[in-house]
Amino acid sequence: MFAAGIDIGSTASKAVILDGDGQVKAKATVPIGTGTAGPERVFGQVMELAGIARDDVAWITATGYGRFSFEGINDQKSELSCHAKGISHLLPGTRTIIDIGGQDIKVMRIGDKGQLLNFVMNDKCAAGTGRFLDTMAKVLDVEVSALSGLSFQADEPAEISSTCTVFAESEVISKLAAKIRLENIAAGIHKSVARRVASLVQRVGIQPDVAMSGGVALNSGLVRSLEEEVRCHIRVHEDCQLAGALGAALFALHSMRNCESYTG
């Protein structure tokens, strides 16, 4: 039998299937999140990749913003717990996790077994989030994935507010009007996000090793800016975007095993 984790975020859906030994059987990501067909699609994809049917999955744990709305799950866990579990599995030795999600930022301090010791999250504000990056990319008329490459070619990063997405958007438009190079604006956007995130990191207190979780971690330009702000090396795993789903799958595996031992 298999255990599955599904992470239904605000902008993407991710899923991971583990076999009975805890090995990753399949993983998938769909770039649309809660309230869309994304969760069903990603779950269909991951089962297809694993070559299994839904009946082969003994336990499904959901996490993320849309964790309460997915049909047929066995239980749900907060994304904080799942990112802590997932990153601890992918990058053992991690003590601080930074997760920039679609609509929030989380900074977690974890123990040696991946247990959550403390955390901070931004409150209802898009500044510094993945949504902020999406908005800025739209203003620059580039794909969000292009921001990283652009920022590496900057020679003088622009100064952009880290207070509010709306203010920052106006600033970026002003920079464009002032003919500031796109590369410098992209680097300024990363710096703006990094400053916002760094203030949260300071609140929870940084303890090495530091790792980044979530899809935004794939933006190496942003990771570099963040390293400069927090003055610390940040580890990024290639499966960083799947960390929440993996954590959920690990919780599912644990529940599945408990259930098996209970039922004999």
Binding site: Y65, S78, E79, S81, A84, D104, F119, M121, D123, K124
Partner: protein, 374 residues
């Protein structure tokens, strides 16, 4: 004696329907004075023969308030202004507004411009509480409040009436503290939202009725067997912890609220009015006895964090939840030092956003759930 469940239901009804109570008071020929948070000298209102009622705004998406109050204004005061401007508070005879933070300074002008039909009685609490002149200054401020209340009620507030009212409020404080202690032995019966409804309802009740009802509830709880709660326990701090959804999340995640430092709840019952030469002096000295409060300056910036740590440990809680009223600068200023002191004491803490202009509290659930899971 009524059972706990029906008594809690009464508090919930009052907590959720203060307008009904205002109507009853007014129909009975009584005048109602709305009291902005926090530390409004309510004994003066009672001594003047009127009914003091707390006002705490409420969940609304302000439309009219934006005329005088920018969006980056304390969420609670903004909704109070909205309710004032839309007639929700139309039956009250006046509002008493203590200027305890910068937002209140602007609110004073905004109220006068936006709600001209409801008289505003304002006064200033001196923040330099160690200055020898602060006591005399505050007594003069309170005299102005007294005069305004006498003018509205047509009654004279004698020292005797005031001292009697002060004793009544100290009894109310004691009753509230006793309820909180007792509730912790019955966390199976008093859920976080129930606890909140009791605390909030009391801000709408006449003090003598509050003492009577809360004492009856405490007695009913004491008659029940003590419950050993096995789940996680937290202490809340901040201005308010509303709406009910948020308190429901604690219950949903198996977390109990075993203490609070909320301005809407225990903070106002923590400090008694001390003995003094006169009632007016007692009201003034009360302010100088306030400790660990974001609205009362303290040279010792660890005082609030230390107080919360002690409160949590005494109640067996391992976490303090900071209920951050959106755009409340005084609470924001306190947050870093509070967190530092809690961490030094080996306690966990996290903040949740309290915003009266939106009903979306999904992030609060995520945080509470994450705490409960670990």
């Amino acid at each position: 004696m009524a059972d706990v469940k029906s008594l809690l239901a009464q508090f919930e009804e009052i907590s959720k329907n203060p307008q009904k109570l205002v109507k009853e008071y007014v129909e009975a020929g009584e005048k109602v004075i709305a009291c902005f948070p926090i530390y409004t000298p309510q004994p003066l209102v009672t001594a003047a023969g009127m009914v003091p009622m707390g006002i705490w705004g409420g969940q609304c998406n302000p439309q009219l308030a934006g005329k005088y109050s920018p969006i980056f204004t304390c969420s609670l005061l903004r909704s109070c202004l909205e309710f004032g401007m839309t007639g929700v508070y139309k039956d009250v005879s006046a509002v008493v507004m203590p200027i305890i933070c910068d937002t209140f300074r602007g609110m004073n002008s905004a109220w006068r411009a936006g709600v001209p039909d409801i008289r505003s009685i304002t006064f200033i609490y001196p923040q330099n509480r160690k200055d020898p002149g602060a006591r005399d200054f505050l007594i003069e401020e309170l005299k102005a409040v007294r005069e305004a209340l006498e003018d509205i009620s047509g009654n004279t507030v004698t020292n005797e009436k005031l001292q009697t009212a002060i004793r009544l409020y100290n009894r109310k404080n004691a009753a509230m503290r006793a309820f909180c202690r007792t509730a912790n032995d019955h966390l199976d019966l008093v859920k976080p939202a129930d606890r909140h409804h009791v605390m909030k309802a009391v801000t709408f009740l006449k003090p003598e009725r509050a003492v009577e009802m809360v004492s009856e509830l405490t007695a009913a709880l004491n008659a029940e067997p003590v419950h050993r709660f096995a789940g996680k326990k937290v202490v809340l701090t901040g201005i308010t912890c509303e709406p009910d959804d948020i308190l429901g999340y604690f219950d949903q995640c198996g977390v109990a609220v075993v203490g609070d430092d909320l301005a809407q709840e225990s903070r106002q019952y923590r400090t008694d009015y001390p003995s003094a030469n006169s009632g007016m002096e007692s009201l003034a000295l009360h302010w100088f006895g306030v400790k660990g409060c974001s609205s009362a300056h303290d040279d010792n910036n660890t005082a609030r964090g230390d107080m919360l740590a002690a409160m949590a440990k005494e109640a067996g809680a391992d976490c303090v939840v900071l209920c951050m009223m959106r755009f409340c600068e005084i609470e924001e200023y306190d947050q870093p030092s509070v967190i530092t002191q809690l961490e030094k004491a080996g306690l966990m803490s996290f903040s949740i956003d309290i915003d009266q202009s939106t009903s979306d509290s999904g992030q609060a659930l995520t945080k509470i759930q994450a705490y409960a899971e670990n």
